[in-house]
């Protein structure tokens, strides 16, 4: 095999670990710091982090080079790429090293483990994980006569609060009550929190998914919510760009919205008002099941030398240590995969400063480990997400929620069908 041609050692006699990632902005800075520290403490290994664009871009490239001498040792891939990576056959499940070393994975956050366990095997090493949260403007709450410490937990509370928070001036709405980014992830989470499944076969965890079932009652509730609120004029359509959403919130155009836990800190820092963070709301009378983990994990390539794999494993383990995880959590807002990190001093200090961060962790901790919150496992996830986004967008055009949802499901089915042919 060509892959053995990969020089596993560089000229200093160090084992080289090529680490492709998609961390940009401040995340990259932190990541580089951590890698630097690792390299210092592990003289025989040299990890080289290389930015490869967005998750999609990195994946495309990995796809093309996988199996050749240009393959990276470690590859970071977003959660929805899990199934795809497994199917590609180009990766080495980390379970092998867990077994060899008897590595204790119980120290990990169980919900995270849950997500990345497929057929009882852990394929990749969770790394940066996040969940959705409700973020709201406390000042606006006060202004509207709402209790800033009592954010809405159910759909009706949400609607009620949104109505109060919506401000009109002349014919113009200057402040909207609520908003959700047109992004499939939020829909998936709103579904999962009610215990709804995305696809059949237990969310694809019990064999290949063949059919989308998100157009269920649970899914419809989400769509109805959006449609109703939009009709009322309390919901603001922010599009599908994260930055637009942040801008809408920070400029007080929107008083409440859903965001990723990873972004909380920056929002707090930049907002000219007090920011509250809370759990995802659920429909009235529905029991809260918890949230699915988002973010990305690290994958190890298959056709590389033993030595490199070992070194890569070493690096992965290092990333999972409480100290590193604490630092990672504090500096980025992503979860620590190892809850022990939350006992670290720096985390405590940080939570002191940003008590909101703890909310995100709590939400995850309270999640029940059921297939719904384990997350769906399908290889055409990105495509399916596009369909859901389109369905969400069509709501603003007055399309019936049921119809929109059914169409998205049908389109996902077709994608699944094609994918299963391969």
């Amino acid at each position: 095999d060509e892959a053995t041609a990969t020089p596993s050692e560089n000229k200093d006699g160090k084992t080289e670990v090529i680490f492709w990632h998609a961390m940009s902005g401040d995340l990259e800075t932190v990541l580089k710091e951590i890698v630097e520290e690792f390299n210092q403490s592990h003289p025989s290994i040299e990890v080289k982090p290389i930015f490869q664009g967005t998750y999609e871009e990195a994946l495309t490239k990995f796809n093309t080079v996988a199996g050749t001498k240009d393959t990276p040792t470690i590859m970071q891939t977003f959660e929805v790429g899990t199934k795809y990576m497994i199917d590609s056959g180009k990766i080495q499940p980390v379970q092998k090293f867990i077994d060899e070393e008897n590595y204790d994975i119980s120290q990990w956050e169980k919900n995270i483990v849950n997500y990345y366990t497929v057929d009882g095997k852990i394929y990749s090493m969770p790394f940066n994980s996040s969940t959705p949260v409700l973020i709201y403007n406390k000042d606006a709450f006060k202004e509207a006569g709402l209790d800033p410490e009592k954010p809405p937990m159910t759909y009706s509370e949400l609607k009620e609060a949104a109505r109060k928070l919506t401000k009109k001036q002349g014919g113009q709405t200057t402040q909207y009550g609520f908003s959700i980014l047109n992004y499939g992830w939020f829909f998936e989470e709103m579904l999962a929190v009610q215990g709804g499944l995305y696809v059949n076969n237990e969310n694809g965890r019990k064999g290949n998914a063949t059919k989308a079932i998100f157009n269920s009652e649970e899914g419809l509730r989400v769509f109805d919510l959006i449609r109703d609120m939009y009709k009322e004029g309390t919901f603001y359509n922010v599009g599908q760009n994260w930055d637009d959403m942040h801008a809408a919130f920070q400029s007080k155009k929107v008083a409440m919205y859903l965001d990723s836990s990873a972004g909380v800190k920056t929002i707090i820092d930049n907002a000219p008002f007090e920011v509250g963070v809370s759990y995802l709301p659920v429909p009235d009378g529905v029991e809260r099941q918890g949230v699915i983990i988002g973010g990305a994990s690290l994958w190890m390539a298959k056709n590389i030398s033993e030595k490199q794999q070992k070194a890569a494993w070493e690096f992965m383990k290092y990333l999972a240590t409480p100290e590193v995880q604490a630092k990672w959590h504090v500096k980025t807002g992503y979860f620590a995969i190892n809850p022990a990190a939350y006992d670290e001093e720096i985390v405590k200090a940080e939570w002191e400063k940003y008590p909101q961060l703890k909310v995100t962790v709590d939400q995850l901790k309270q999640t029940k480990p059921i297939p719904a919150t384990q997350g769906a496992l399908i290889s055409v996830f990105p495509e399916s997400r596009q369909k859901v986004v389109k369905a969400m967008e069509s709501l603003y055009q007055g399309v019936d929620p049921k119809e929109a949802l059914d169409r998205a499901a049908a389109e996902t089915n077709r994608a699944l069908e094609v994918a299963n042919k391969k």
């Binding site: 492709w20 995340l27 871009e57 495309t60 050749t68 920070q250």
Partner: protein
């Protein structure tokens, strides 16, 4: 020219300039704002901070990227100018069978969406062992149908008499090309040069694909590295980087523009 006309013309010019320049100026102003200010939608920074620039340079090896971009852009520019002008010359001044077919074939390459060709090209470049090298970043762009087309259009305006005169004096075709056609097409060559430089400078996806190494990576990748997906981008920093990135190209444009002076053809023949 009467005064009113001049006045109106200036007024129009200024209005158009404002419209055209506004986005750039806007970006420039944003680059001096801190994150909160940006997200609150200010136009004029309340206080000018250079922190964004400092951050931009500190986050990614922007200087090295800039240098790489320069090298790559220059090589591509030179390559495109040479290859395109040779081809355009053949299309205008050499009359051979199948010329029009070949020309249309060349034009047809413009129609191929680069996105569709990218993966096979990546594999080709990989097979050639050109990953992580300037070769892989530049050579695939040397032939440019657009450039050939642009130059052909310009070469066509060169009076045929000049070609005839050269032929009669026994001057070889290449020399005619070199000594007459190229100097006479200075405007178009500069236009094409600027175009090549800028498009190469602005390439993102291809350099990302064929490089794995900060030592050959270009500045657009650096720009992308500063924007994050899930969490808020620091727009001030990004805009600062945008300014840093477009500054050299704008400068190049200003310099090139100076040379695009009054046409040289005046009084060409009779």
């Amino acid at each position: 020219m009467n005064v009113l006309r001049t006045f109106l013309l200036y007024a129009l010019l200024i209005i158009c300039s404002v419209v055209v320049l506004f986005p750039v100026v806007y970006a420039f102003l944003i680059s001096f704002m801190d994150g909160a200010e940006v997200l609150q939608g200010h136009i004029w920074p309340q206080k000018f901070t250079m922190a964004n620039y400092a951050a931009a340079f500190q986050k990614v090896p922007l200087l090295e990227f800039l240098l790489n971009s320069f090298i790559v852009s220059l090589i591509v520019m030179a390559g495109q100018l040479i290859v395109s002008s040779l081809a355009a010359f053949a299309f205008v001044f050499l009359n051979f069978k199948g010329r029009d077919v070949l020309f249309f074939l060349c034009i047809a390459t413009m129609l191929i969406p680069w996105e569709a060709a990218m993966i096979p090209n990546f594999l080709t470049v990989q097979k050639l062992g050109w990953l992580n090298s300037y070769l892989g970043l530049t050579v695939p762009f040397f032939a440019l149908a657009f450039g050939i087309f642009l130059l052909r259009q310009h070469f066509k305006t060169i009076p045929l008499e000049l070609y005839e005169a050269a032929q009669v004096s026994g001057v070889g075709r290449f020399r005619f090309f070199w000594n007459i056609v190229l100097p006479l097409s200075k405007t178009s060559l500069i236009t094409l040069g600027v175009y090549s430089f800028l498009t190469t400078w602005n390439m993102y996806l291809w350099p990302l694909l064929v490089t794995n190494n900060d030592h050959v990576r270009t500045v657009q990748i650096g720009l992308k590295q500063m924007q994050s997906q899930e969490i808020s981008t620091e727009w001030g920093v990004v805009m600062a980087a945008v300014i840093v990135v477009i500054l050299p190209t704008l400068l190049l444009l200003f310099v090139g523009q100076k040379h695009l002076q009054k046409g040289l053809m005046q009084g060409a023949i009779k």
